[in-house]
Symmetry: C2
Subunit: 401 residues, 2 copies
């Protein structure tokens, strides 16, 4: 198997000769093709707040502050509107062992943001709480173990690999579940529209100088701030748990708010700048771009990549549940070691790649990859992408006991 | 026919009830759906440098300076790299009545930008010159009346509705033709890639905080600056002529450089912010967005719309060849009148809509339009979209005589 792995690596490393943009670079070292030019520009973009090993304690703190400030600047949150009413509980229903509450917050005139609170029965004092952020195509109702707000939005909501918030309230924590913008209850339900169109709202936001992630994090930050004020919640034991797309606002909240106690990173850890550079093997007449504009945050890579942001969460507890490159895990581990908190970052690979002998471990990915080869090279097993309750819940018990 | 037109208008105005985002606004005036929210945000975005009638001369000048400064800030040109070599003529070929020259400019290390110069034979002194910028899917070779750099890039290059630069040199002007980034010679010609992928390079640029238009205009500005230094060119008689997509860099150059003598706007004049708001009738399960990310310039609408930018070119000569809304023409005409230069802005509608009785003339477009209805309401006849040489050449003769 290792031999097969190495052969695949070699094949992947040979691929770029066919399709790398450097084809269009001339003898004088200049490129004429715009793709080759912008590809090289991106390659030369060195994030200002990339994690560096061997920083002094003072440098580490300055770096973390830099990450937080840059994140705040990228996210462009509007100024808080103090004239708006406080969040309101609009419905309350008993469930087995807990109460399901439906809340709304009012961040600005003209906007209502619904969220769900699952509150354990019989609380006698504040308990830890988990802010649950869903993945793409998923909803707060799915997280809460409830049917969707419309039949077509109903997920496999009794599956513990889906119902993250229900898992949490069963553990005795207050669980709070939000929608990602454009999904579930926040979807466009006009006649003739099907599904969740994240990219259309992203385009509107980008035109206005904002971004999907900026908007999503702006909402989530207000839910988090509300959580901190709840008498049933231990303000010093708030966990933010992101599944898939939800890891992005999770990182934003973490970088901007040092009060959060712990983080669940339930996706593979991805160096997205590198991915944009290497996942470029033409298919069907075009080179792919790895993802849609819901992930586009102009200037993000001028400051950091996901592993840098995750590293900057040190020394707070974090669990990674779906692997990625060992290289990126080493980076995060190194940051935690700098803080003397190596044991506070817990790393799991996909089951298929749990054995190091099954993993590809390179320092740099070759260009010219297709999606399948890319996933293989970064140790991702797409069919096994789900909320890893079997890892997260025991870990939470340990860090929250 | 007018009756038919009015019926169509009425139909268009009825459409939105089916699909306008306001469907999702509640009794308390708050929206929950993200599309409705961002749609309203965009609707409330009032461009800072929108043209206003009845400005004093001083206010007009301040407004124009504001447009120029905002445009420069949006376009994010890199600082000039003085260490780079000057443009070089790399090839020269005789043609009937003119010489075709191939030039390269070197804006930065690692980049070569080819452009074509068509120089009339027998010049005895400087003459007017025209910078020709092509439309989407088109090339500098097509503009120059030459076959493409590869057989699959060859256009109908002897058609005067295509070969804008050839038309110009035949008039006795020095004609300069550029490629749009990602097209023609600047296309990605790796194995497996077909056609011109503007959107992929746009995504790279947007990730880096830049934009397709910023990059394109950065190149075009350097070609323009080169033109100003040519002994064969009358620096005070430089025209910038944009076809279709090429009108966008044309407007950027015009807003940022007051030395340009005249402008050819060969497309319909479009209020793109309004278009994004109203061209939103669901089709195939999704609402459309009117165009791709090559047109995305974050924050643009915070400052102006195309009619405002065109208006800010006053009192310099401009010709509009393919109509649009009378409302938008009135806006530009009003700005020219403010400068006492009404005759310097020339307005043509599509032949099909030349007769005012055939045109729809409204002050505001209704929401819920599909593409076909939108084009009809803004008086656009897509099959007749081409370089209107029959209008442009006589007009140039007049203003350049």
């Amino acid at each position: 198997m290792l031999a097969a792995t190495l052969a695949l690596t070699a094949a992947a490393q040979e691929q770029p000769t066919a399709a790398a943009p450097s084809d269009s670079v001339r003898a004088d070292g200049r490129a004429v093709g715009t793709y080759a030019i912008v590809h090289e520009m991106l390659k030369q973009t060195k994030p200002k707040y990339a994690y560096r090993p061997n920083m002094s304690r003072r440098q580490l703190r300055a770096w973390q502050r830099g990450v937080g400030r840059a994140m705040a600047s990228l996210m462009r949150f509007p100024a808080p509107d103090r004239s708006q009413p406080a969040p309101v509980c609009v419905a309350r229903q008993p469930r087995e062992g807990y109460t399901l509450e439906r809340w709304e917050l009012y961040p600005q005139e003209g906007i209502a943001v619904p969220f769900l609170v699952l509150r354990p029965d019989g609380l006698t004092g504040p308990v830890p709480a988990v802010l649950c952020i869903p993945g793409s195509g998923r909803t707060k109702e799915g997280l809460a173990g409830e049917p969707g707000v419309a039949p077509e939005f109903t997920e496999n909501y009794t599956d513990p690999r889906v119902c993250m918030a229900l898992d949490m309230v069963r553990e005795g924590y207050v669980a709070v579940a939000v929608d990602n913008p454009a999904a579930g209850e926040t979807a466009d339900r006009a006649e003739g529209v099907r599904g969740y169109d994240y990219d259309l709202v992203s385009r509107f936001l980008l035109e206005m100088g904002w971004s999907w992630l900026g908007y999503a994090s702006w909402i989530d930050r207000q839910v988090l701030d509300w959580m901190k004020q709840q008498p049933d919640i231990r303000r010093d034991r708030i966990v933010v748990s992101g599944f898939s797309l939800g890891t992005e606002p999770m990182m934003v909240l973490g970088a901007m708010d040092s009060e959060i106690y712990a983080f669940v990173y339930n996706d593979f850890l991805c160096q997205t700048q590198e991915r944009a550079l290497v996942l470029n093997r033409p298919e069907g007449g075009r080179r792919p771009f790895p993802n849609s504009i819901r992930h586009l945050i102009p200037d993000y890579w001028r400051y950091f990549n996901f592993p840098d942001v995750a590293a900057a969460l040190a020394p707070r507890h974090i669990i990674f549940t779906e692997g990625g490159m060992d290289r990126d895990f080493r980076l995060v581990r190194s940051a935690y070691a700098d803080f003397g908190a190596e044991e506070r970052a817990v790393f799991h690979h996909y089951p298929r790649f749990a054995d190091p002998a099954q993993r590809i471990d390179v320092e740099r990915l070759p260009e010219g990859l297709d999606r399948t080869t890319f996933f293989r090279m970064v140790n991702v097993d797409p069919p096994s992408h789900y909320f890893k309750h079997e890892l997260v819940l025991p870990w939470l018990r340990r860090i929250l006991r």
